[in-house]
Symmetry: C2
Subunit: 207 residues, 2 copies
């Protein structure tokens, strides 16, 4: 089910538990051009959890509940509720002792990635987590190009602050390529982003 938030952002119902075969490798799940980034990450997280590689989840969408009905012999139905602004990023969890925190965004643009895809509270949250020693980044998907990038939060902050100082309101693909790690969509997991986390951990050690 899809619909839009009042501000135009797309909302997508969190996927129900799928019948995806994550333990065997018989069923190949390729990074699918038609698959949404959120689903690709959720499937990857499922794979990582099933193989005890990492424990990372998408957080539920925050909802303000106003009215609930209790029909007889049936489960409770929420009859009036509203979307609330999240305070954090969408994904967090743990990988080999490291706290992992990230946001995921997709664009159909072929070159420029508009910074308005991010919100101040997400930047603030990433900054706070980074300060505590977390592995913080954003996953950017160029839907049309079928390309995926992981940009460390520290690099994103540079562009974010730049636009506030009257700099460009978007990031160019060449800049994303320079400041990010590219991930190749795969199967089991669909989006093997932990490989990039390993690189982020390595580059932190070198500093």
């Amino acid at each position: 089910m899809n619909f839009n938030y009042p501000d135009g952002r797309k909302f997508q119902q969190e996927s129900k538990p799928s019948k995806l075969n994550t333990t065997g490798a018989k069923k190949l799940i390729f990074g699918d051009r038609g698959m949404r980034l959120e689903d690709e990450i959720n499937e990857s997280n499922k794979y990582y959890r099933a193989h005890e590689i990492a424990v990372i989840y998408k957080k539920p969408t925050p909802i303000q509940i106003v009215k609930v009905d209790y029909p007889k012999r049936s489960r409770a139905v929420i009859k009036e509720a509203y979307f609330r602004q999240a305070s954090t990023t969408d994904y967090n969890g743990i990988y080999q002792g490291h706290y992992v925190d990230f946001e995921a965004k997709e664009t159909t643009n072929k070159n420029t990635f508009p910074l308005k895809n991010f919100h101040q509270h997400q930047i603030d949250h990433l900054r706070a987590c980074l300060k505590q020693g977390g592995i913080c980044f954003v996953i950017i998907k160029y839907v049309t190009l079928n390309k995926y990038f992981i940009m460390p939060a520290s690099k994103l902050f540079k562009y974010w602050e730049g636009q506030k100082d009257d700099g460009p309101k978007s990031i160019q693909l060449s800049e994303v390529e320079r400041d990010s790690y590219e991930i190749t969509a795969n199967y089991n997991p669909t989006l093997p982003y932990i490989e990039i986390i390993n690189k982020l951990i390595e580059s932190r050690k070198e500093q």
Copy 2:
């Protein structure tokens, strides 16, 4: 707003951002006998975030959205939705590089704490996080006694497995006292549970 889940568990609306003065200390917020554990933890988390001590949040309640209306000149209204079973514990975040994950439960009992307060998926999640090196525990509040305890997940597992092997279905207060750290409710933060996390980190180093 309060109501019950179909299985009888109490649901409490996540608090709206309160006007709590977290940066100054003029307004004293004591651990209040009338305050719910969830609110006490949320206020403490707010304090920890405001003081850049830790970044820990309660996760939103997962909701399955079925129908949304878009009234003109008004925000989207969810007209039909259902509660979903959470896959994880309620709280997680980062403290000084450590991934922190916990569940919070309160009881009005004066002695026995029924294990049915926990669910298999919460135990499984805590176990998976512990395996990845997280700081994992449960906060238990005895409402009537106005006492708070932090029990490390490893201790909880012992009781959980015990009941599955036909052992006791609840934990005695004396056992909670023996296997947990007691926290004293305070002001700023309401529930200074990070002090206990420091002890958990210390005792891990000693092992």
